[in-house]
Structure formats: C-alpha cells, structure tokens
Symmetry: C2
Amino acid sequence: MSETEPRPDSPRRARTRERLMDAAFEVFAEQGLAATSVEQVAEHAGFTRGAFYSNFSTKEELLLALMTRERDRWVASLSERVPAVFPFAAGPPIEAEIGAAVAALLAGPTNHRHAALIQGEFRLLALRDPELARAFEVHRMALEDSLVDIVDDAVSRSGRRLRLDTRSMVRVVVALHQDAVERSILAGAEGDPMESVHLELARLLTAITELR
Amino acid sequence: MSETEPRPDSPRRARTRERLMDAAFEVFAEQGLAATSVEQVAEHAGFTRGAFYSNFSTKEELLLALMTRERDRWVASLSERVPAVFPFAAGPPIEAEIGAAVAALLAGPTNHRHAALIQGEFRLLALRDPELARAFEVHRMALEDSLVDIVDDAVSRSGRRLRLDTRSMVRVVVALHQDAVERSILAGAEGDPMESVHLELARLLTAITELR
DNA sequence: CGTATCCGATACAGGAATGTATCCGCTAAG
DNA sequence: CTTAGCGGATACATTCCTGTATCGGATACG
C-alpha cells in the first residue's frame, strides 16, 4: 500500500496542468521538444518554472500527458461525427465517397500543422525510447481500433466489401493521410492547406480502395 | 567574382569531413539532432570541436551534407541493382512480383534503423524551417524521380499498365515503406527486422498495385 | 629531406538551462 | 470569515554547451 505520489488532484492543479498542456502543444509544435526549454513552456502558459516542476518531472512526461489528452478528444470527436459523415444508404456506390469520408474524419478538429508536428515529435521519440514506444503504440492502437470500427460499420451498411482487410486498409489510409499532410506543409501551403490534401488523398483512395 | 569561402578542398580535409559525417550518422540517429552536442559528434569521430568548426558552421549544415551524401549513394545503389531485381520478362504476370521487387529496391544497403531515424529527424526539421524544406524537397525529388524511371521501365517491359499514374504509385510505395519500417522499429523487432516488413509491404502492394 | 601551409587541438569567456530548496500568498473547506 | 496547507514564485548552485582566438604539429609538395 505504498503510494509513491499521493498528490491530491485539486481543481486548481487540474487547471494549471491544462494550461501547461495547451502551452506545450503550441511551443513543442513550433520549436520541437528538445529545442524547447522548460522555462519557455511555463512562460507561454503564464507561469514560471516552479509551476512546471510542481506538476511534471520531465518534458517527456508533459508530452505524454498531452498526447493522451489529444487522443481522447480525437476519438470522442470521431465517434460524434461518424453519422454525419457516412450518410450514404445501401444504394449506389460512389467510389470516392468512402475516400472523402475517411479523409474528412481524419481531418478532425485540431490544428493540422501543430498536430502533425507534435505527432512527428512523439513518433521520433518513441523510435528511440522503448518506454515511449509502448505509450505510442497504445496511442496508435486506440485510434486504429476506432477507425476499424467506423469503416467496418460503413462498409457493411453499403452492402459491399473492401479489397483489403479493414485493418490494413485503415493503416494505408492513415499512412497516406500523414504523408499528404506533411507534403502540404513542406510545400508551404497557405490558406486552408487541407483542401488540396483531401483532394489528393481522395483521388488515391478512390483508386486504391475500390469496393468489390 | 567574390568567392565567399575559397577553402581549398585538400584530401585531408575531405577525409575529416567524411569521418564527421560517419559519426553524425550514428550519433544523430541515436540521440537526435537537437539532443546531440557538437562535441559528441566530434568525439565520436575521434576529433575535438576544433575539427568540426573548421569544416562546418552548424549542426544543420553537417546534417545537410550527410543527407546529400546518403542520397547519392542511395540512388547509385538503386541504379546498379535494377537489372537484378527485375528479371521478369514480358511473360506471365505475378502480382506480388513488382511489390517484392520494389520493396527490395527500397531496402537498400544502409542501416535501416539509423536511416529511418535520420530521415525522420530531417523531415521534422524541414517541417519547421522553410530553408531546410527546400533542401528536403530536392532530396525527396531526386529519389522519387529515380524510382519513377525504374518503375516505368519495369512496367513497360512487362507490357501492362498500373492502375495509378507512376508518380502517385511511387509516393504510395515510399510512404507505406516508411510506415512499415517505423512500425517494425516500434515493435522492437530483433534480428533482421526488414524481413517481416517486406512480407507485409509486399502483401499490401499486391492488393493495391495490381497491374491492369 | 626540408619547409610553408593548412588543419585540428587547446584554452577561454560567456550564456543558458536544469533541478532543488525555500518561502509566501492564494484557495478551498469548514 | 477563518485557517491550514497546497501550489506556484523566487533564488541559487551546478553543469553543459557554444563560439572564437590562438597555437603547435602533421602533411603534402618541391
């Protein structure tokens, strides 16, 4: 019964952690994890380093908390939007429909640029640290499972079949989506960069996914 | 006619640069660019910081030189191996053949883990710095163009057609390959991790690429 | 073999980030 | 309203890294 850290979870504490995560989301995305000092995060949140060290022990711990929060929001958002995005009945099949729908789902509510950068940061860290690799897998799996359910549901409602098992399908879509987003950032897209991304992605998916 | 840096390219100098790049390849891959000090790179190469500052002005400059070198080796290796990897005549089509061949080409001669990590490091940097973004694009394009030529050649020899334009096809393959390699690293694969990667990739490609 | 030159080693100063220890003021509970 | 204690600010010592300036020795060439 030896609790290592019996820190009470006061409402004040929760608010501070929240603000620190908000700050980390921005600063980590803009400068990168390693290039960001603890002080910069705290300052951006309107605190000093004292607040940080009172709530987290390392930058990585903060990043992990942040990723968990984002994932939960993300999956929740997905679950909500599913019905609206898959309106097609069991009627006639339009190949692009599923492509566009999945792309719309993946688009999500968050800042794409920041999300992509932080995701990349997290992945790179996980590729080196087995500890974080496990956390990253949990993260990825939670998303993947949700998507598999969604796609399975939509496909079965359409009364047709994918040419690939659903999980592989989802992995392909996620990988291509990620690549497309990064490509658009690298191209220095202004305005709403996601528009062209989704056009391109839908085109690829139409060719690739073709229902049977 | 004002040369900014008329540094003579002595043989000794070239050797030192080479050793520094070798060291950077390892240390950057293991610790990440930002987490690595100039001293660590120099030391790992058997030098002190003096040698580094005599040859490069920033870590980024070293990384860029490194990536250029790796790309050149990479493309050269590809060009050499093409004939051996595409032995199939205009005869009967085996769908998996092109998938396995492309996978073998992408595998290349280098350390996969390190290559993937450094590539990720470079990409992440490019996503933030427009300067590096351009360099990254050059890098990516050089590889992509080579692959397009290779695939075009192989497909035309087979007397069939891809269900996707070649460039999109290549992008899909590269993106999926990258994803597969990262996935295998994250899974903590021991031994030869590329074996399972290529099996999985070939399976996906078989389903996706199907010649017409 | 001798030598001028180039290149990497060494020394130094400055700056910045980290983690801890301590303190005070705010907050939430009664 | 009062108070106990939590949470964030402040101060400090330490460590590490950077960039430059200078020097001595190896190297390539005649």
